[in-house]
């Protein structure tokens, strides 16, 4: 008796699975687009995917993994889009000529310090001296007598590359300091450590940490668009030279005025259409045509 029930049960399950498979096969095929890369950009991309009107025909998967992973996977052809915080030209081991760059947002980078420190303005020179280890006490830059705890970003991370490109002089490098690879952890450490300084992507700025003015200039969208605030970087989506239609459609959607004005700005990124300057991979800033 038990055996009969068991075999009937198994038969029903197999029949059910078979029927399910047939039904699923009959549904119109969906185009699949996979985006892999920058973890910092991931929340924004996911939000855009959530609003994508073509979602019936295209299923889009967004994954993190880091800019390096994104670029190497799109280069290898394993994914459709590689999300990156840095130019492909800046990444070791990537042949940028084989990839097509789509800029989808601009992100400010802001130095942050612990709130109780009482420092809210630094000159570019002071910032450089702090991050190269020439200045090790806050007293030397007009703060309290407290050793400076430098928290750098992980080697090769997009934010660090952009930061060093702007702040450090060519040929110098950062002091060997603590490294963290995510905006959230950096924020948490700066919040909990007196005397800590680091830098985060402006989208992640909140009241837990104190943003620092640079030469008296405050971080703001307007200042970024004119390069008055020089610490900013592009968020890229890289594809192969000839992306598939479904891929191109999604990128077009993300670059559209509608998305840029709503979602991108809501997430505290800077609208790409507002930019009055543009920057090349080697850091040259020029008037946008």
């Amino acid at each position: 008796m038990k055996k009969i029930i068991l075999s009937v049960g198994i038969a029903v399950i197999i029949a059910g699975l078979g029927a399910g498979w047939v039904v699923a096969k009959k549904q119109p095929p969906q185009e699949k687009v996979t985006i892999v890369g920058s973890t910092a950009l991931q929340p924004l991309t996911e939000a855009v995917v959530g609003k994508y009107p073509n979602s019936n025909h295209t299923s889009i998967t967004v994954q993190g993994g880091g800019s390096g992973t994104g670029l190497s996977q799109v280069q290898a052809g394993a994914v459709d889009i590689g999300a990156s915080d840095i130019f492909a030209e800046q990444q070791d081991g990537i042949t940028a000529a084989n990839l097509k760059d789509h800029i989808v947002a601009v992100s400010g980078i802001v130095p942050v310090v612990n709130k109780r420190l009482g420092v809210d303005n630094l000159t570019m020179n002071q910032l450089r001296q702090i991050f190269t280890g020439q200045v090790t006490n806050w007293r030397e830059v007009g703060g309290p007598n407290l050793p400076i705890t430098v928290i750098n970003r992980a080697n090769g991370s997009g934010t660090r590359v952009a930061f060093e490109q702007t702040v450090l002089k060519p040929g110098t490098h950062s002091v060997n300091a603590q490294e963290q690879d995510s905006n959230g952890t950096v924020k948490e450490i700066v919040k909990n450590t007196p005397g800590a300084i680091s830098y985060i992507s402006s989208a992640y700025l909140n009241r837990d940490v104190q943003p620092v003015k640079l030469d008296g200039v405050r971080l703001s969208t307007a200042n970024i668009t004119t390069n008055k605030w020089p610490l900013w970087s592009y968020e890229h989506l890289y594809t192969k030279k000839r992306p598939r239609l479904a891929t191109q459609n999604f990128i077009n959607f993300m670059q559209s005025k509608k998305v840029q004005n709503s979602l991108v700005e809501d997430a505290n990124y800077v609208n790409i259409h507002d930019m009055k300057v543009e920057r090349t991979a080697d850091g040259q800033v020029s008037e946008r045509k």
């Binding site: 699975l17 399910g20 498979w21 039904v23 699923a24 096969k25 549904q27 969906q30 699949k32 996979t34 973890t39 910092a40 991931q42 929340p43 924004l44 996911e46 939000a47 995917v49 959530g50 299923s59 889009i60 998967t61 967004v62 994954q63 993190g64 993994g65 394993a78 690879d181 995510s182 905006n183 959230g184 952890t185 948490e188 989208a203 992640y204 909140n206 809501d266 997430a267 505290n268």
Partner: protein, 293 residues
């Protein structure tokens, strides 16, 4: 000193240290629950996550975590159990066996991030599974196998040899002895092993980031067809688990209430494991009672 006195001192020291550890553990749990419980609400449990607005929930992540544990167990329990039977009942005491044992222990010392990357290169890319629950489950199986095999083997070994001899005396085959005598007697131990390992994979994040992925596309809870791409039962869809969600929200979360979400998720995770534990214990108890009859 007289032995009794030493005994008393030792007892006091042991109990004292145990008390300290107990206090430490309890304060740890209280800390997690106290910071997390205020953030848990019905809304939190039943709505989906937000990308950069507050008031997001964890419904999909919670379901994914549970489902992933189930899939992993379907893959790893039979494998680990059979391997444990081999090691405990069939394995000859020679070099090869000890090499196998060593191999399993080595597996247990693999850092989960390495397992994750292995899974990414092999399951996700080579086997073309994409970021999916199945790839995640396979990666978790690698992590899970050593501890599960070990505890299953321990449970089997603890069944007195006398019982096996009785079976042999009745002319039963070894396999029959294993399935009819040893396995039932070892079942409570095996279930404890399963709970323990389930607990470990429930909280695993590093191995899943590159295999099951870190995003949860919209899923349809009314679609029971496991082959349909939007179905909640589809094992080929990418899925973010609760532990990965905690990691993600903490490291690159744009939501303003990141701290609350992660504390709440941690508390939910702990409570789920607790419920899971109690349930499995109860089931084990039931099985034991039925076997005794």
């Amino acid at each position: 000193m007289r032995p009794e006195k030493i005994d008393r001192i030792a007892t006091i020291v042991i109990l004292g240290l145990t008390g300290v550890v107990g206090l430490l553990i309890i304060s740890l749990l209280v800390y997690i629950l106290a910071t997390g419980l205020p953030n848990i609400s019905w809304h939190f449990l039943t709505s989906s996550a937000e990308a950069f607005k507050s008031e997001g929930g964890i419904r999909d992540q919670l379901f994914n975590s549970l489902y992933l544990v189930v899939i992993t167990m379907i893959v790893s329990v039979p494998l680990a159990l059979c391997a444990a039977i081999y090691l405990s009942e069939y394995a000859p005491a020679n070099r090869l066996t000890s090499l196998l044992r060593l191999a399993i222990e080595v597996l247990s010392s693999l850092p989960s991030v390495v397992v994750g990357l292995f899974g990414y290169l092999v399951f996700v890319l080579k086997f073309g599974m994409d970021f999916s629950l199945l790839a995640g489950a396979l990666a978790l199986t690698i992590l899970n196998l050593p501890i599960l095999t070990r505890s299953c083997e321990d449970a089997l070994q603890q069944v007195p040899y006398l019982q096996r001899q009785a079976g042999l005396g009745l002319g039963m085959s070894k396999w029959r002895i294993v399935t009819k005598i040893v396995l039932p007697a070892a079942l409570p131990g095996i279930i404890t092993g399963i709970i323990l390992s389930a607990g470990r994979i429930f909280g695993e994040a590093a191995a899943l980031i590159y295999t099951a992925g870190q995003s949860s596309p919209a899923i349809d809870y009314s679609d029971w067809n496991p082959f349909s791409p939007t179905s909640f039962l589809n094992p080929m869809r990418p899925a973010e688990t609760l532990a990965v969600h905690i990691w993600k929200v903490n490291s690159e979360g744009l939501v303003p209430d990141a701290r609350a979400v992660s504390n709440g998720s941690a508390a939910v995770l702990v409570i789920t494991i607790l419920l899971f534990n109690l349930l499995a214990r109860y089931v084990g108890h039931l099985i034991k009672r039925r076997l005794v009859k």
